[in-house]
């Protein structure tokens, strides 16, 4: 079980409220990413830092999916954010 902690870089701003238009802003480049419900839950958790397990639990409870599917979604999302250079990883 990975206990790695991930956190959004300070350059990332989150705008909007759940249920409305939710947008991630990379303030260095003004790149905008529209976010769906599960992305928004994870991003908000990542503001203060979160482990993969925490993200899996949040997705599983919010969307009634099994743990494997929630884990796949969480890892995929972390991979994308890492590729965009928007999160820091701490062991």
């Amino acid at each position: 079980m990975s206990q790695r902690q991930y956190a959004l870089k300070p350059r990332v701003a989150l705008e909007g409220n759940a249920g409305e238009e939710c947008v991630l802003v990379d303030t260095h480049s003004a790149t905008l990413c529209a976010c769906n419900g599960s992305a928004w839950i994870i991003l908000n958790a990542l503001k203060d830092g979160a482990t993969t397990e925490k993200m899996v639990a949040l997705i599983a409870s919010a969307f009634a999916v099994d743990e494997d599917e929630a884990r796949r979604d969480a890892l995929d999302f972390i991979y994308r954010l890492t590729a965009m250079g928007l999160i820091d990883e701490k062991s």
């Binding site: 705008e15 238009e21 947008v23 260095h28």
Partner: protein, 716 residues
């Protein structure tokens, strides 16, 4: 900052013209109006009556004509003192590149007269001018694209070939164009040299992300405010028409270093480029005034014109807030009408009253009325007519809902909450069925009674689905395909229609499909000629070389053939009509164009009484069995005073909001006619001048996201 005793601060600002390449005075005035804490009066200074930005409601309290800066510092100074004697000014903010050195030289004399400025030393302006920038960058250690100055255009080909194509050609003061080969380079260089003099600059093209920054340096040379922006969309001139504030530490660091190295004072704009895959930042340009997008600084919470004026009036720097990253703008247009009396007053006396009170947008809306969908809401390439249609419909009390239909997320009108209740994106497809499907879905969400398509290219698709739209309860007023094709340039000018229509003529035209045919046609007609693309573009050619270059430009724009006509010198007119199902004209309005941009669009115009021309044009439209809105464009030959038809647009003209202000309101008559209701247009009010000016509008991240992901944006 608040002035003592709540006395208004009086500031004079220059730069209200520019049309589609707007001068910066208008947005600087807008930013001061939006952000200044306390009463403020603005005097707009320009060079003629055509400074359309100064006439926009809420911009200027007074408008003045100035002598040209070329007449010398003393002449400018005397005129400023004359204005100052009438109503004392507290400060001047010059916003045109060529004026900044003049006012910088005058700053001490102005200060003695009680008019304050904050401007860079003349040496700093000179050292960072386009001609000197490569040296400044080299001496100061800033990376810059390779640039050379070509003074004698006969040397252009040699230098341009050494650079390789494509490359940028820049005027020594302003203007830039990307060129792809030697012929294009020669053509564009000649235009820029003619306009600005001093030869041209050749600059290598570096592929990468473009950034711009506006800043203010205080009297101490320190940076007192900085707003860095990433260009997200540019027009064909390379100017940002869509951009967002960023918080990029490298850009900020570089900008602050430039202010210090340049020993700067006052406002400036920096242009940067970061090559793809590199962290290096190239300095591309330094402009010695605020940029045209400066309203963005207000929306981002760091209003630089307000900071500048505060600094000018009381040099004690306020802490500039950090601009909010992600705040975005898109360039759109504002339109209004001005009393001819004020216009004349400015012509004759050199000063007049501005339009301070904002014109209310239409009447109080009724609860029940017409619901209309309007397409063509972009200003990206040219100003689309849908914006003017919506503006006119906002003047009608029984139009209760207007829905904007756009194709791209950069379509500026989609973000206009004052014109549209809801906006939607349409599919980018030539398939009429996809269009129908989308309109049906929109109709399901927000039912509408009439749709008014306003783009030439989409009208055939609307004609194809017209009957199916009717079954959904959506009405439109459109011609059939035959009539639509008959007014296309290739048919209109070479399709066997008679040449003489009484008050106007259809000019002698040759249809050409190769360079050889263009040259042959031009020799037959005699120079100068106009070489026209079948849909858009019209290029004047004074000789064979220019005729060949014009053909080359049309080929590059994708034209397979061209029309060659004799060039007619004279004033330009346009007649807007709406034809009913019986092809008779229901209403008509004629304008004389007063001010056109380089692309030929009308930015100011006056209504004129030309009943014979209107009647002849109505006969013509009836002859081709036209239905719906249309526009005929004419040139009145200055030799024989006859009108020459140069184009027929198969939709509303972009200036049609004018009819909403004068009374006949063509879009409103179109709705009624489409619904089978009687039409009785009001008589148009005389004595009004139509004016258009660029206007940036803010975009929230949520609005942009909604359009991208859902294709819909609800306003209000």
């Amino acid at each position: 900052m608040r002035s003592p005793n709540n006395k208004p601060v009086r500031v004079a600002i220059t730069g209200f013209d520019g049309l589609d390449n707007p001068h910066r005075g208008t947005p600087v005035a807008r930013a001061l109006r939006a952000g200044w804490n306390g009463p403020i009066e603005i005097d707009a200074l320009g060079y003629d009556t055509h400074m359309t930005g100064a006439w926009m409601p809420g911009i200027a309290d007074r408008v003045h004509v100035m002598p040209s800066a070329a007449e010398g510092d003393d002449t400018v100074f005397e005129r400023v003192l004359e204005i100052h004697a009438h109503r004392p000014l507290d400060a001047i903010i010059p916003c045109l590149d060529l004026e900044i050195p003049v006012y910088a030289r005058l700053s001490d004399r102005l200060a003695q007269a009680g008019i304050r400025t904050l401007l860079p030393p003349v040496e700093s302006i000179y050292a960072t001018s386009k001609l000197r920038l490569p040296k400044f960058c080299h001496d100061s250690g800033f990376a810059a694209p390779r640039t050379i100055h070509v003074l004698d255009l006969s040397d252009l080909a040699l230098h341009a070939d050494q650079f390789g194509y494509p490359l940028m050609i820049k005027g020594v003061v302003a203007g830039a164009k990307k060129v792809n080969d030697a012929a294009e380079a020669q053509l564009e260089a000649a235009k820029l040299d003619e306009k600005w003099g001093g030869g041209v600059l050749l600059q290598e093209i570096v592929i990468g992300e473009e950034y711009i920054a506006a800043a203010i340096a205080g009297p101490d040379g320190e940076c007192h405010g900085l707003v860095p922006v990433r260009k997200l969309g540019v027009n064909e001139r390379g100017k940002a028409i869509f951009g967002a504030v960023i918080d990029d530490p490298d850009i900020k660091k570089t900008a602050i270093k430039i202010l210090s190295r340049a020993n700067w004072r006052g406002p400036l704009e920096l242009e940067f480029l970061r090559p793809t895959g590199s962290s290096k930042i190239y300095l591309v340009e330094i402009n010695c005034r605020f940029p045209s997008w400066i309203m963005l600084s207000h929306w981002a919470g760091c209003n630089l014109p307000v900071l500048l004026l505060s600094e000018i009036l009381q040099p004690n720097p306020l802490t500039a807030p950090t601009p909010k990253a992600g705040t975005s703008f898109v360039r759109d247009v504002a339109e209004t009408v001005v009393p001819l009396t004020e216009y004349r007053k400015l012509q004759r006396f050199g000063s007049c009253t501005g339009t301070t009170a904002c014109k209310p947008n239409g009447h109080l809306k009724q609860e029940k009325g017409f619901r209309v969908a309007v397409s063509g809401v972009s200003t990206l390439d040219v100003v689309n007519a849908g914006l003017g249609v919506a503006r006119a419909l906002r003047q009608a009390a029984d139009v209760t809902a207007i829905y904007g239909l756009g194709y791209g997320t950069y379509d500026s009108g989609l973000f206009r909450s004052d014109l549209f209740d809801v906006t939607y994106r349409l599919p980018l497809s030539d398939d009429p069925d996809m269009l129908l499907q989308r309109l049906e879905a929109i109709h399901g969400e927000t039912p509408f009674d009439v749709v008014i398509p306003c783009l030439d290219g989409e009208i055939p698709r609307f004609i194809a689905i017209r009957e199916r739209l009717e079954t959904l309860g959506i009405h439109c007023l459109l011609p059939d395909s035959k009539a639509f094709n008959q007014r296309c340039k290739t048919e209109l000018f070479t399709g066997g229609l008679r040449a003489d229509w009484g008050d106007f003529v259809i000019p002698d035209t040759v249809h050409a499909r190769s360079e050889e045919e263009i040259v042959k046609a031009a020799r037959r007609l005699g120079y100068p000629v106009v070489v026209k693309g079948p849909i858009s573009l019209a290029i004047e050619a004074k000789n064979e070389e220019e005729a060949c270059a014009a053909w080359g430009a049309l080929r590059k724009a994708g034209c397979a053939d061209a029309l060659v006509q004799p060039f007619v010198e004279g004033e330009r007119f346009a007649v807007a009509v709406v034809c009913g199902q019986d092809h008779r004209s229901l209403c008509a309005m004629t304008i004389k164009k007063l001010h056109l941009c380089d692309r030929g669009s009308t930015w100011s115009a006056i209504g004129v009484n030309e009943p014979k021309l209107e009647s002849a044009f109505a006969d013509f439209m009836k002859h081709i069995h036209w239905v719906g809105p249309g526009e005929g464009e004419f040139i009145r030959d200055q030799t024989d005073e006859r009108f020459h038809l140069i184009e027929i647009n198969p939709r509303f003209t972009a200036w049609i909001a004018f009819s909403g202000y004068t009374g006949s309101n063509h879009p409103y008559q179109t709705i009624r006619t489409a619904l089978g209701q009687a039409v009785k247009p009001a008589a148009d009010t005389d004595g009004l001048v139509f004016m258009r000016s660029c206007e940036d509008i803010p975009i929230s991240t949520s609005a942009f996201s909604a359009l991208v992901t859902k294709g819909t944006l609800r306003h209000g």
